[in-house]
């Protein structure tokens, strides 16, 4: 048998056959290692956990069209594809327009957005009632709701004024909407055909005048000269389809189609120039305490339907990342007509809070380490005084001071090893429990945790043994072995 095997045999015998004492030492190392492993796990997981929490402070990045460019849903989706999927918490598109509420002679800034995303980027939005889900449902800011006395369930008629920029014109305009339409389209031989139509109150065609003088009189010209063709239009509502609603004159198909096209074009041009009013159902009142209370919110689809235009002013992005990463993402996103920038107010405070939290966890870890050392040291101290006789005997049998040191260190490190494994496993469980209770999220297991915890607890055990070993070495065999 080699000396090493005898050494191991003695150390394991000491641990196994003196169970109660060693269990206490193991427990103190194990608990220390548990808290250590748990704290380290939390320390590294805090930013990840908290970042998700911090996202409740709102968007930390803005996407805007670069000057002279425009942004729409498609461009936004393209830009978002550049972000790693798990980093993006939410992205809310916003388009701002002024809509009139004619019944109250008020006008409100209205934001078209995506409510599902808003709930992710602005989780602090508090809604009395509920977020809109169906088309033509809107959210009204608390301030507006109070001013005009709107409640959940009320209806609101909002009007889009395409000429709103031309304030004087729209206000004074007393023209009956769509009363007269005038349009033109290319007929035979690329020559223009002109059509004028008068509509009645129900938008049905009352009168029509066709000018096909550019067309061949025997063919296309007959659309003007044969009253039967024009009569087909009377009483019908635009838009119309040639061949379906209107029979083309034989030999004048091209010109007949041109007349229908001219009317349809005239009607479309008139429509987009017309103020458009839609009735909306208020499903919720938005309370934030901020400027959002002065806005009306509707879905992007509703706003596009109302204004006939898919356009975005800005997108608010909530991204789970630290400041350096955010800056990187912002650089990646910028380009192709899009500019990204950080919301400094949010990112800065996030970084500061996380730093402080980590410092706190670090401090607690250090304190726990010290306490563990004291605890293990005390236990080892008790072990030494309990084994004074044995140490004296070993010395009497010829053990050198280094042998005594080696044996105690061996026992201590072995305890550290066991305690470390125990601690790594329990520590992970501990961190998991803390994380689930405090952060409501589970923790990622780091494989490195096991060797690191074992190593650290072995070192702590070794360090804790230093004082007790010093005492053990000082034992005088002549005194402890004395009879009686």
């Amino acid at each position: 048998m080699t000396k090493r095997r005898m050494f191991l045999r003695m150390v394991t015998a000491s641990l196994l056959r003196r169970r109660s004492r060693m269990l206490i030492a193991l427990l103190s190392i194990g608990i220390g290692a548990t808290i250590l492993a748990g704290m380290v796990t939390i320390y590294y997981d805090v930013p990840r956990q908290m970042r998700a929490q911090m996202r409740s402070y709102g968007a930390n990045m803005l996407l805007m069209p670069t000057e002279g460019e425009t942004l729409d849903s498609e461009k936004l989706a393209e830009a978002l594809d550049k972000l790693p999927e798990d980093a993006l918490v939410g992205a809310s598109p916003y388009r701002y327009v002024r809509l009139d509420m004619t019944s109250r002679q008020q006008s409100f800034t209205t934001a078209g957005t995506d409510f599902a995303q808003v709930q992710k980027t602005s989780p602090y939005f508090s809604v009395e009632g509920r977020y809109p889900e169906a088309p033509r449902e809107i959210l009204v800011g608390g301030e507006i709701a109070e001013t005009i006395g709107v409640k959940v369930g009320s209806d609101m008629e909002l009007t889009w004024q395409p000429t709103a920029k031309d304030a004087s014109g729209s206000a004074e305009d007393d023209r009956v909407p769509g009363a007269t339409l005038a349009g033109s389209a290319k007929g035979f031989g690329d020559q223009m055909v002109y059509v004028t139509a008068t509509l009645d109150d129900e938008a049905k065609i009352k009168e029509i005048k066709i000018d096909a003088s550019t067309q061949t009189p025997e063919y296309g010209g007959r659309t003007q000269t044969e009253p039967g063709f024009a009569e087909q239009f009377i009483g019908k509502t635009l838009p119309l389809e040639a061949g379906e609603d209107i029979d083309a004159l034989s030999g004048a198909t091209v010109t007949s189609t041109a007349v229908v096209d001219a009317l349809n074009a005239a009607r479309a041009a008139d429509e987009s120039a017309q103020p458009k009013t839609t009735r909306y159902r208020v499903t919720g009142i938005l309370v934030t305490g901020g400027e959002e209370e002065g806005y009306v919110f509707m879905s992007t689809d509703d706003l596009t339907a109302l204004t006939g235009e898919d356009r975005l002013d800005v997108a608010e992005l909530s991204i789970s990342a630290d400041e350096a990463q955010l800056t990187e993402y912002a650089q990646a996103l910028t380009g192709e007509g899009v500019t990204a920038r950080l919301v400094k107010r949010v990112t800065k405070s996030e970084t500061a809070v996380l730093g402080k939290l980590q410092a706190l966890v670090f401090l607690v870890t250090v304190v726990v380490l010290i306490l563990t050392m004291i605890c293990v040291s005390t236990t080892m101290m008790a072990v030494v005084s309990e084994r004074r006789r044995e140490i004296g005997l070993r010395k009497a049998l010829g053990a050198s001071d280094n042998s005594i040191r080696g044996e105690f260190l061996g026992e201590g490190m072995f305890l550290g090893l066991l305690g470390g494994v125990l601690g790594a496993v329990l520590g992970f469980a501990f961190a998991q429990v803390v994380s689930v209770n405090v952060f409501h999220a589970s923790i990622v297991f780091r494989p490195l945790l096991l060797p690191v915890t074992v190593l650290v607890s072995m070192l702590i055990a070794a360090a804790s043994c230093l004082m007790p070993i010093k005492r053990a070495v000082a034992i005088d065999p002549a005194i402890v072995l004395k009879g009686e």
Binding site: M1, K3, R5, L393, A396, G483
Partner: protein, 224 residues
């Protein structure tokens, strides 16, 4: 030829002279008993011979080498290599089996050898109890294990401090028989005792009183 010689040694603790100018010599292969009442300086002498203490004054010659001024590290080496110790209270490592306790002595001396350790236990009649822990052995058995431990490294000197002090008569006789065996094999034995029966088993008895050698008695009835 003297294996051990104490020349005018004194051990002084403050005012107290535990040993006062004592000289003794023990020949190689001799069996000597040291007797005396409590406080006579027996233990002090035992510690000095056992290389666990140093005299205040005087020379200690072991195998011709003066060990009285050696640093304790060297004393440990000498104790390990030349002396086998036996104590009144046996002193075993409580969590090691009988054979392991014997092997501890080998471990510090040279190489642990389980076979050899078992043989040594066989010599003291405890081969069957080799796997028992001290708590499972009687006092007599424990002391026999200690004898096996003391002789395992073939020391030149076996130093026993009241080896039968905690034993009944039957076990005392077993231990004394073991000593006789060792003596026949040429091992030098120094037995510190206050039991006249144990002293009578030795060839010669040195009686200490008040830190001095009061008398030396040669045992006429000693049987080889």
């Amino acid at each position: 030829m003297a294996l051990l010689e104490l020349k005018n040694i004194s051990k002084i603790y403050g005012e107290l002279k535990a040993l006062d100018n004592v000289s003794i010599h023990v020949d190689k292969g001799e069996w000597v008993a040291i007797m005396g009442p409590s406080g006579s300086g027996k233990s002090t002498m035992m510690n000095i011979i056992g290389c666990m203490d140093k005299p205040t004054k005087g020379e200690v010659l072991l195998d011709g080498e003066d060990i009285s001024k050696l640093p304790s590290k060297r004393l440990t080496d000498i104790r390990r290599d030349k002396i086998g110790l036996i104590f009144q209270q046996f002193h075993m490592v409580t969590y090691l089996t009988a054979v392991e306790n014997v092997m501890v002595s080998q471990y510090y001396h040279s190489m642990p050898d389980e076979e050899e350790a078992l043989e040594a236990l066989g010599r003291v009649g405890l081969r069957e109890r080799a796997k028992h822990l001290p708590s499972q052995l009687s006092g007599g058995e424990q002391q026999r294990v200690c004898v096996a431990r003391a002789l395992i490294n073939h020391p030149e000197l076996i130093l026993a401090d009241e080896p039968t002090g905690n034993l009944d008569e039957a076990n005392e006789n077993i231990v004394l028989d073991l000593f006789r065996q060792l003596h026949r094999e040429g091992t030098t034995l120094i037995v510190v005792t206050h039991d006249p029966e144990v002293a009578d088993a030795a060839q010669r008895t040195i009686v200490l009183e008040h830190g001095k050698v009061a008398r030396e008695v040669v045992n006429e009835n000693f049987v080889e």
